[in-house]
């Protein structure tokens, strides 16, 4: 293993990372009118938020730091997410969702 990146190389790495975030986020926006996508594709992209966020959430809840999914009902993260989901059935209030989810998660970690 080599030494940690430092000084000018670290600055270059940070600049490169900044550039990579900029390029990906502005790609189609900067292309503007020249990058008209097929109408079907643009309609399909309406589902981008829900699909991407689910793909972030599910492994984080079920495989947190492990190699295999943990479907056990004693998984504190699963309990926390279920509590939040139940809250969301009758309210959209985000703070309540966070409070209930964190409460259930913390209790489960303490007592299970």
């Amino acid at each position: 293993m080599s030494a940690p990146v430092e000084g000018i190389v670290l600055a270059a790495a940070i600049f490169g990372l900044a550039l990579s975030t900029f390029i990906t986020r502005t790609s189609f926006l900067l292309a503007g009118a020249r990058a008209r996508l097929n109408h079907r594709i643009e309609m399909a992209l309406r589902y981008a938020p829900v699909c991407t966020l689910t793909a972030i959430i599910v492994p984080d809840v079920l495989m947190h730091g492990q190699d295999a999914a943990d479907f056990s009902p004693l998984n504190p993260r699963l309990i926390g997410v279920l509590a939040s989901a139940l809250w969301l059935v009758w309210s959209r209030n985000i703070l309540g969702c966070l409070a209930l989810g964190m409460g259930a998660y913390s209790l489960a970690r303490l007592f299970l």
Binding site: A13, I14, T21, I56, M102
Partner: protein, 208 residues
């Protein structure tokens, strides 16, 4: 970040310029172990791939805006603000004019909150124990965003497929599994949409 081996000033610089939590998390171990520059940048690109999709989804709403404004709106976009914007667009709660200002307002609030919290975290990292599990609030905030969007069959199908693919592809490096899951979910949702009963076409959101 400080725990990942960066000194405080470098960590603050990185937080201010690399507005991408997942790219930072993926790149830090590579920086700490002295990987070549191109590997670090390539990791940043791949980790951010989903924003290419977001950028394509936002394009029609801002196509008539000047270049600099499109660049700024893109740079300050996040998973969170993009989802809020698309939800407002689909529910018809987005103003007909000044959508750019609406989005800029959401994004600037989000950016300031993020930076204040990130820099507090960088400075105070050694005082907050990691075993409090505070990072789980981030996951729950995403749940609060996704929940209300699961109101129709195509979205449910898309989320289900995306979740399963994300689990199966979790072992792929550089968060490629996330990108694959997003694509699979979007395709599945679109198929479910075209198979369900035909509806009057929705507002495409094309800038007028």
């Amino acid at each position: 970040m400080v725990k990942g081996g960066l000194s405080v000033p470098w960590a603050i610089l990185m937080s201010l310029t690399v507005y991408a939590g997942s790219a930072q998390l993926a790149a830090l171990p590579l920086i700490a172990t002295g990987m070549p520059l191109w590997v670090i940048v390539a990791t940043g690109l791949v980790t951010n791939l989903r924003f290419v999709i977001y950028s394509a989804a936002l394009r029609p709403y801002f196509a008539d805006q000047p270049m600099a404004k499109r660049a700024a709106l893109g740079f300050f976009m996040t998973d969170f603000t993009f989802t809020l914007f698309m939800r407002a667009a689909q529910e018809g709660t987005l103003p007909e004019r000044h959508r750019d200002a609406w989005f800029a307002g959401v994004c600037s609030n989000n950016w300031m909150t993020w930076q204040v919290c990130a820099i507090t975290g960088i400075v105070a990292a050694s005082y907050v124990p990691t075993d409090w599990g505070l990072e789980f609030t981030g996951t729950l905030a995403l749940v609060a965003l996704v929940g209300p969007a699961l109101n129709a069959r195509p979205a449910l199908v898309g989320a289900l497929v995306a979740g399963v693919v994300a689990l199966l592809a979790h072992g792929l490096p550089y968060r490629l599994g996330l990108f694959a899951a997003a694509i699979a979910g979007i395709v599945a949702a679109t198929l479910a949409d075209s198979w369900s009963t035909p509806r009057p076409p929705r507002e495409s959101g094309e800038a007028s």
